[in-house]
Amino acid sequence: MSNIDLNKIWNYTTANESKDHILLKEKYDLFINGKFVKSNSRKYFNSVNPATDEIIAKISEANKEDIDLAVKAANSAFKSWSKLKAKERAKYIFRIARMIQERAKEFAVIESMDGGKPIRESRDIDIPLAANHFFYYAGWADKLEYAFPNTSLEPIGVAGQIIPWNFPLLMAAWKIAPAIACGNTVVLKPAETTSLTALKLAEIIQESGLPKGVVNIVTGGGKTGSEIVNHPNIDKIAFTGSTKVGKLIKRSIAGTHKKLTLELGGKGANIIFADAAIDQAVEGIINAIFFNQGHVCCAGSRLFVQESISEIVIEKLKERMSSLIIGDPLDKNTDIGAINSKEQLATIKKYINIGMEEGGEIYQKKCIISETGNWCPPTLFLNVSQSHTIVQEEIFGPVLAIQTFRTIDEVIEKANNTPYGLSAGVWTEKGSKIFKLTKELNAGVVWANTYNKFDPTSPFGGVKESGIGREGGLHGLKAYLKFK
């Protein structure tokens, strides 16, 4: 054995997750009525690996006729699916959950290849949580009358579901599981840049023997989405994505019978008090903003630090950033992966430029950025105020805007001073302060001494321009039931 110079810096060699076990087709068609069918448009678009710019598959683009077929299939499946004994529905959902677990590794690798998120996150968070959502709602299927006692309830009909690119499989699970548990049928469209895991889920659904037409998965961009939103035989729209598109959807279905849930943007306030456990709070701030490259609607993108500890917190933040590993999403040691698309990278860069032009003091982690793929170093902005654009608007990237505050009332006022109201975080060791803030912060989710925690049993959703309705938990069932 050769001598090792123990004075040399200890580096972690790459530890790539193997891609050998995954099965990807070259081309993916639409999943309608239990079968994969070619689209009437005959058009395909590319699904690109954002870390390498390689094309990993071609995805079919659904047009109006395809959506019509999918809705027809869903409508006809609804007749029997909604009448099926609830415990039988539960069995199918339970089976889907089990099959996701069995193929978790394959899903995790594809999720990271297609979306750019680190394998650690897709392996430990996205995929297990997706399976858990199916398990959780499988459990509710035959207990709905106990969930909402003294009511008479029935499913709504066909749900048109449009999901974002930040948690592709997980969002599909959030949407499909409660919908079919309540006896609805589904037409789901994944985001254009991340269709693959939804299509792999379609394969599982096919294998599971779920009656044909109960879940239909159609792919495409914004135009395909608007065909779903505007289809007359859809009874409910569930959308997760930007506030801009959410507003458009709300406008276009106004006056129709369609029910609506929206889970939109956010500009989460993460508030750290002088009496917080500082090292753990710093870790929480890092996870709040850099989790999934900041592509998280509830990301803690506005940090409020109490003035007396601002210096030490910022120093510790910078230091912690130095040990983050940015790179190949498939490397098990990667903390921060690739930005999901060129388009999103351009948006983030635009905001970083605006931040600098408006006089914000920028701090970025030094890292080697590869020529191919989409990369953005973790970024802090100091010396900004509520009046700065980067404090007001959702960036959806690894960019944290830091402000200081003096008193509790001041920070509550500032935290609520945003059109959004999705999430917030409070860091203090004092229990009474936690209760005061959770009560007064106007946000759908408030975390205390933690951040970005998700669980199928816990409802999630926003107030103000962050959305309507809740997903997850008991609340998540409501959106898919008619109460008489």
Binding site: M1, I4, L6, W10, D124, D275, A276, G284, E315
Partner: protein, 299 residues
């Protein structure tokens, strides 16, 4: 040497600490990183025997092992030190003459520390006179839990004085301190009272060293370094029985205190059975297969 301001000692959130520690454990250490890490781990071991039944003979055998870990493996480092009771110091010293391996001695009424200051001082002086290079003292946990922080501080400071040139490691016995907040507080007291190293455990109490406890102590060291520029060492002891766990501790050290602490002058593992597992892993790194544990000598 001044008493630390305990009012400004950062609070510790246990759940947050455990989450951070889990992240360290998820690092994947392979190939050349693994070999490098294993070499580091080996070089940081304080090979330990602390039993009532210790005799000069078994101490001598352990010292021989310290100097000849596994002669068929070329180019591996030696352990940092051996750790014994005061009465065994002279035998260890004699056996390790001419090597760079240090002799550490526990002292101050180890492991309970329930002795008078006079006894503790003479216990320490005896070990130093016998030739101990390092003293591993225990703090008075009873006094600490009773809130007599000044007593604990003064005791450490007095022991430090009689250590002379010997390095002082202060054992907090975190398994008896109940909370991570107490671990942090005790770390501050030990560091400000003159510890060269802070150490988790005696190995006689369950739990001994854990990663969360060590993480809290590493942060105390980091904050002290930021304030004063002085580097304090860290020694987790007990419970680190496999190479895998040792590598996880090294990841934690690497990502908390960084490269400057990645050496035996500032980090030690107190362990009795770790060395053989590290050797077995190193053997596998070289040959590609595991050898039977029976090929690794137990001394």
């Amino acid at each position: 040497m001044s008493f630390p301001n305990l009012l400004t000692v950062p609070k510790i959130d246990k759940i947050g600490v455990e989450e951070r520690v889990n992240r360290f454990c998820k690092r994947s250490i392979k190939n050349s990183s693994k070999t490098h890490g294993l070499h580091l781990a080996l070089s940081m071991i304080d090979l330990t025997t602390l039993d009532g039944k210790d005799t000069p003979e078994n101490v001598k055998r352990m010292c021989y092992k310290a100097n000849h870990l596994h002669d068929s493996l070329q180019g591996i480092p030696k352990v940092a030190a051996v750790c014994v009771y005061p009465t065994m110091v002279k035998y260890a010293k004699n056996e390790l003459k001419g090597t760079k391996i240090k002799v550490a001695s526990v002292a101050t009424g180890f492991p309970s520390g329930q002795s008078s200051l006079d006894v503790k001082l003479s216990d320490t002086k005896f070990a130093v006179n016998e030739g101990a290079d390092e003293i591993d003292m225990v703090i008075s946990r009873g006094k600490f839990l009773a809130g007599e922080y000044n007593f604990v501080f003064d005791e450490i400071a007095s022991i430090k004085e009689v250590c002379g040139k010997a390095h002082l490691k202060v054992i907090l016995e975190t398994g008896e301190l109940d909370t991570l907040d107490n671990v942090r507080k005790a770390s501050e007291i030990a560091i400000y009272a003159g510890a060269d190293f802070i150490k988790t455990s005696t190995g006689k109490i369950n739990p001994a060293s854990t990663m969360p406890v060590t993480y809290v102590m590493l942060n105390a060291i980091k904050d002290y370094y930021k304030k004063t520029g002085i580097k304090i060492g860290m020694k987790p002891a007990g419970g680190i029985s496999s190479a895998k766990i040792a590598l996880q501790y090294l990841v934690m050290l690497n990502e908390t205190l960084g490269h400057e602490w990645m050496n035996k002058d500032l980090f030690r593992f107190g362990a009795s059975s770790l060395a053989n597992d590290v050797l077995m892993q190193l053997q596998r790194q070289e040959s590609g297969y595991y050898e039977s544990i029976d090929y690794f000598s137990k001394d």
